[in-house]
């Protein structure tokens, strides 16, 4: 099968959905003429015109409102924040409006809105351009949260997100954009809410998200040299998440490490750990381990940044600890 990059896979998903459905439109900063800072919207302006590819002013609150309002009247907006950090300016529209309008209207309206945003930790941009805020959104009823780890899933999940009738936050890790992999051409869909077992193993289950999936797979390779067999689960959708796949795996391995590159305290991993302990308690042979970014804002200096971020070594150490008794 052909290999394309994560960024091209996303671009393909957008183009296919825009061709299929004339009410899909995209809006955001520098997405038109420039094709987006990370090239995800390249070529859209040329193909679909300025009416459906809107270069907005730097006005994040208005961009989000444009999405909510557009969705309310029956279009399917895909809005982009240039960095996830800038979504903070748009929180009212997303949390108080997009997430709640269906419920507050007793099911009368729906908000089919996709919010795309790159997560940029690890490239030296400092504390206001590096945050993994997925836990904030997972906390709020009414929003779905998706975080692909491979080009194949990037395409399939984005297409599903666009067809979903709910607000979907779609998180793209900056360090994955250039990653290449096999991606089916045409209408390849990955349903929201399904995890994937990326590697089978019988000793320890590693549940990972986004960028950390490849770290977990690398850790699994390393541990296989010590005859430790790791099962790696890529959650793919953070909310609603696929508990069934996790519990099936834990039933087999009895040991779990949960990996997420957001902050540890009240982070996304905490929810997975809590769910595992309440639903799989009698299967567990060892306390559930957590590998997360350290609880500090992201520094600019590369050496400091590395020391705070999830690494392959930490995953190896957590798996070894889980195997220690």
């Amino acid at each position: 099968m052909r290999q394309i990059s994560f960024a091209v896979a996303l671009n393909e998903a957008l183009k296919e959905e825009m061709r299929r459905d004339p009410v899909v439109f995209v809006a955001g900063e520098d997405i038109g003429k420039m094709g987006g800072l990370f090239k995800v919207t390249q070529g859209l302006l040329e193909e679909f015109g300025a009416g459906r590819v809107l270069d907005t002013p730097i006005s994040e609150a208005a961009i989000a409102g444009l999405g909510v309002g557009g969705a309310l009247v029956g279009t399917r907006p895909v809005i982009e924040f240039q960095f996830l950090d800038f979504i903070t300016i748009a929180m009212d529209q997303i949390i108080n409006h997009a997430a709640k309008l269906r419920y507050m209207t007793g099911g009368m309206v729906s908000v089919p809105l996709v919010i795309r945003a790159p997560v940029c930790g690890g490239i030296g941009l400092g504390a206001q351009h590096s945050q993994s805020l997925e836990a904030w959104f997972v906390h709020v009823p009414g929003i779905k949260v998706v975080m692909p780890a491979t080009p194949r899933d990037a395409k399939g999940l984005l297409k599903s997100a666009i067809r979903d009738d709910n607000p979907v936050l779609f998180l793209e890790h900056r360090r994955l954009y250039a990653a290449t992999g096999e991606v089916p051409s045409g209408d390849h869909m990955v349903p929201l809410g399904t995890a994937e077992v990326k590697r089978e193993g019988s000793d320890v289950t590693v549940v990972a998200t986004g960028r950390t999936v490849s770290l977990a797979l690398a850790a699994a390779d390393r541990l296989s040299e010590q005859a430790i067999k790791i099962e790696v689960i890529d959650l793919r959708t953070l909310k609603p998440f696929d508990m069934q796949t996790i519990s099936n795996s834990v039933g087999k391995t009895n040991r779990v490490v949960v990996v997420n590159d957001g902050w540890r305290t009240c982070g996304y991993a905490a929810e997975i750990v809590a769910s595992i302990q309440s639903e799989c308690f009698y299967d567990l042979d060892f306390p559930v381990q957590r590998v997360c970014n350290k609880d500090a804002p992201m520094p600019a200096a590369a050496a400091l940044e590395r020391s705070l971020m999830v690494s392959e070594e930490q995953i190896v150490a957590a798996c070894s600890a889980a195997m220690s008794s």
């Binding site: 030296g124 520094p299 600019a300 200096a301």
Partner: protein
């Protein structure tokens, strides 16, 4: 102005050598705004800056060596390597910080002015921001609050015509930032941002009114950035003709010509300045490059006071 330009050129070189930690947004072409406006500042005044903040810091006499160390992510940097280019801060010199969030610093300037008034200080806060930021809600909320409270803020819009890939006219309704002042009942003025005297005069007037308790003003300075948006964003969508046209209106060259014509300085005086600047930048780069990386343990320090 020469120091700012030489500083930014050196950042270019350091970036080519792979030494810059993260990104940097260069101020080349806009030097007259920072220098002209900061010359109107008095002791005890403050400023808030932007992602394109090196010029403001140098105009407030921050040490280029420590700025450069910060940009390289080294331990002798102003923020111990934690901030990088977008967050250089020196409270002791009145620099409340550059800012990575477009429009982030504007309400902070208003808060600073409020706090200073509460402490019976007659200080003025100079608030720098790009024209792109004038489309953020924070700009409008801050102007309204400052106006209604008659706070001592000089809002200085650096209109370099482009916000990343967005041309001013295509994204900014009304075609003027200065005119937005009228909606809030405050003085709005547009000046040639490449004319250091014009910027200085407008900033001096605005600061003077503020010190008399007459409230905020908004100055829109027309200028242009010569370089790409950042050292990170290499793609250039502006027309070369337009860039060249603005380069012919070089603020430094204009100032130099005027100084010589008015016999305020001789060509030799100006050459001496260039030499001194060159030496200072060389010293700064040497200092920054030899500054050690921050110790890993510091990554978990400074989170709480």
């Amino acid at each position: 102005m020469c120091l700012i330009r030489a500083f930014e050129r050196e950042i270019h070189v350091l970036n080519k050598d792979g030494l810059v930690s993260g990104t940097a947004h260069l101020y080349i072409g806009m030097e007259a705004i920072a220098v002209g406006a900061c010359a109107a500042m008095a002791d005890g005044d403050f400023l808030t800056s932007t992602h394109r903040g090196h010029g403001h810091c140098i105009a407030r006499h921050l040490d280029p060596a420590r700025m450069m160390a910060e940009i390289l992510g080294r331990s002798d940097g102003y923020c111990r390597g934690k901030g990088g280019s977008m967050h250089i801060t020196d409270r002791s010199k009145g620099v409340l910080g550059a800012d990575g969030i477009v429009g982030g610093g504007i309400p902070i300037a208003v808060g600073a002015a409020y706090g200073l008034r509460l402490m019976n200080k007659s200080s003025v806060v100079f608030c720098f921001f790009g024209e792109g930021a004038s489309n953020q809600g924070s700009f409008h909320e801050a102007l309204n609050l400052a106006a209604i409270q008659r706070l001592s803020v000089v809002f200085i819009c650096e209109n370099n015509q482009w916000a990343l890939s967005a041309p001013f006219v295509a994204t900014t309704a009304g075609g003027s930032v200065a005119k937005r002042a009228a909606a809030y009942g405050i003085v709005g003025e547009e000046v040639d941002g490449n004319d250091i005297d014009a910027v200085f005069a407008a900033a001096t007037r605005a600061a003077g009114r503020a010190r008399e308790g007459l409230g905020p003003a908004l100055i829109e300075c027309q200028s242009y950035r010569w370089e790409g948006h950042s050292i990170f964003t290499r793609q250039e969508i502006r027309q070369q003709e337009e860039i060249d046209d603005w380069k012919r209106r070089d603020p430094i060259e204009r100032c130099r010509r005027k100084l010589i014509e008015t016999q305020m300085a001789s060509a030799e005086d100006l050459a001496l300045i260039e030499t001194e600047v060159g030496a200072e930048i060389a010293r700064a780069a040497e200092f920054a490059k030899s500054s050690p990386n921050p110790d890993e343990s510091s990554a978990l320090e400074d989170i709480y006071a």
